[in-house]
């Protein structure tokens, strides 16, 4: 059950302050990095909403992000819509598609759910790759950024764009935590813990799963529409299942089911990627090793590890029963229940 603990508040504040400071002081490359991190963070928040609180390990979130990117690109470049309308349109279309995917896949469990989402993601990839209307292998270029000149902001300026991304990330963070603390999120968490009992209580399980998956898809589409504006170009590679896999890696790296954890995971992931890529071509080797180490250590990622450490320290000093300890136990139970 999602809670805003003091640690989470402080971490959030620290991340926000550091990000703002970075945007104010950084040069071009640093600003690009901030935008990249913010976009990835939005995507992994979307994934954590369903994976961390509903046990819905999706391998189609990359495709949903790609749908958002292509939706935005198609609506601006091909349909000639104004960018803000295209943004809203892309989010709405992707949300509807995600709702449908959630409604269909929500009936299956565990590995079948993973496979089913993988299938839908790859289906989207094939459609984009093979239909000439989407530009095929070449993708589409000339994607415009939203025009905010009315309020005196030029998003073609990297600093403004980085700010814009951060602002949306903040909004997404607020929205995601709000939904998770509302009835929908609470009920979804209940379903993850015990689906049969939730049904016996009168909960329409597939509907809850579909609704949350739809909301998650809308957030993924925000990430996609931002990504399209960031590089002003879309290509089918965005929808590939490995993108979904990487997003899952980031969620796990940061701490599943904590929302702020995956944001930290996104920061760590992008920074590491740039650091390691500067020295070697074999960046995936490092990601792979880190991922295996994190999963096999059974810690809940960076943030989960810190939470656990702190709660343990407090337990020793104060001697009280700590709920964060319970949460990691619950994560363990969840992993076993999935089997």
């Amino acid at each position: 059950m999602f809670r805003h603990t003091a640690l989470r508040f402080w971490t959030l504040g620290l991340v926000a302050a550091a990000a703002v400071l970075r945007v104010l002081t950084a040069e071009y490359f640093g600003l690009e990095l901030v935008a990249e991190i913010a976009i990835l963070a939005i995507l992994v928040i979307a994934l954590d909403m369903v994976a961390g609180f509903g046990g819905m390990v999706s391998l189609c979130h990359g495709a949903l992000m790609g749908a958002g990117a292509y939706g935005y690109a198609m609506l601006t470049v091909k349909a000639g819509l104004a960018p803000p309308a295209a943004f809203a349109g892309a989010v709405a279309i992707t949300g509807a598609a995600a709702w449908a995917i959630g409604a269909v896949c929500g009936r299956s469990q565990g590995i079948y759910f993973i496979m089913a989402t993988l299938a839908f993601g790859q289906m989207a990839y094939s459609i984009v790759f093979e239909q000439p209307a989407f530009g095929g292998d070449d993708g589409m270029s000339g994607v415009p950024r939203i025009d905010l000149s009315l309020i005196g902001v030029d998003l073609n300026d990297p600093r403004s764009f980085a700010f814009f991304c951060l602002l949306l990330l903040g909004g997404v963070y607020w929205f995601a935590t709000h939904v998770l603390q509302a009835g929908l999120g609470r009920t979804l968490t209940g379903i993850m813990h015990n689906e049969q009992r939730m049904r016996a209580l009168g909960v329409n399980v597939w509907r809850i799963k579909a609704d949350m998956f739809g909301l998650s898809g809308m957030i993924a589409a925000v990430a996609g529409a931002l990504a399209a504006q960031h590089v002003m170009f879309v290509s089918p590679g965005l929808l590939n299942w490995t993108v979904s896999g990487e997003a899952l890696v980031v969620v796990i790296l940061g701490g599943l089911g904590t929302i702020i954890g995956p944001v930290i995971g996104a920061i760590a992931f992008v920074m590491l990627k740039h650091e390691i890529s500067a020295h070697t071509d074999y960046w995936h080797l490092f990601v792979g090793v880190i991922l295996i180490a994190v999963v096999m250590s059974r810690a809940n990622g960076i943030f989960g590890w810190v939470e656990q450490r702190l709660s343990r320290a407090r337990k020793v000093t104060a001697g009280d029963a700590i709920d964060a300890q319970g949460r990691t136990d619950a994560a363990g139970t969840r992993a076993r229940d999935d089997a």
Binding site: G183, R186, T189, Q196, L201
Partner: protein, 247 residues
């Protein structure tokens, strides 16, 4: 309030329920007795919709619910507890009750309000927790409380949906005789207009609580009547109650 007509279900060659017809009045408290394998739990599963009957009808408050899903029946006021604890182990006692109460008050799919902090949900949680003596454990994680408390919570969660009919599958299964007597008091404290259908092995509890008794054997209703008649019944003694009636 709850009625079944000719409910039948077979698994392969075995009739687990055969032509079961029951009729519960509003506020009636009925205990179902029967040896292991008599089809009691399967009857519950059919009543709430977890198992489909091969034939027969189920009526809840006069409405035919035979074709409805588990969740649709639950929202119409049919709630159950399980013989084996079926709780949300990682969550606190309060959260367990809150999830159920949120359904009762229609906040379970809201994306605007926190279902657990709504005043109507909190009131229900408090009320049910008091009824089932769970107040001292409200903030404990379910995994950390004793087995007996979890048995109470199992019933409390079912009750927090504010049902018309509550089905309890061996609420005292696995608890000691002392706790069992405590349960007797708990059940007597429940609202009188709530219809109860209880599967129970503990004879003392059964006869202390029941307005009426149904006995199942090999999936068939072999006795249906008042506790007084049940005590005097020769048939019951033969099938099941031998040692109790002799005592």
């Amino acid at each position: 309030m709850l009625e079944t007509r000719g409910l039948s279900k077979r698994f392969g060659a075995v009739h687990v329920t055969r032509d079961v017809s029951l009729r519960l009045q509003r506020g009636e408290r009925r205990v179902i007795l029967g040896p292991n394998g008599a089809g009691k739990t399967t009857l519950f599963n059919q009543l709430v919709g977890e198992t489909r009957p091969d034939a027969g009808q189920i009526l809840l408050a006069g409405e035919d619910v035979t074709g409805l899903t588990v969740q649709a029946r639950a929202r119409r006021g049919l709630s159950r507890s399980y013989q084996r604890n079926t709780l949300f182990d990682g969550l606190t006692v309060e959260e367990n009750l809150g999830l159920a109460a949120a359904v009762a008050h229609g906040h379970w799919h809201s994306i605007r309000h926190d279902s657990l902090t709504r005043h109507d949900v909190r009131d229900t949680v408090r009320e049910v927790a008091e009824q089932l003596r769970l107040m001292p454990h409200l903030h404990a994680r379910v995994g950390d409380v004793s087995y007996g408390v979890r048995r109470q919570l199992e019933v409390a969660v079912a009750l927090a949906t504010r049902p018309l009919v509550l089905l309890m599958d061996e609420p005292t299964s696995g608890v000691g005789p002392e706790m069992s007597r405590g349960f007797h008091d708990l059940l007597n404290d429940l609202p009188r207009d709530l219809t109860l259908l209880i599967i129970e092995h503990d004879m003392d509890l059964a006869f202390a609580v029941a307005d009426s008794i149904t006995v199942l054997n090999h999936g068939e209703v072999v006795f249906d009547g008042s506790p007084e008649d049940a005590r005097g019944s020769r048939l019951l003694k033969d099938i099941y109650l031998g040692h109790w009636a002799d005592a």
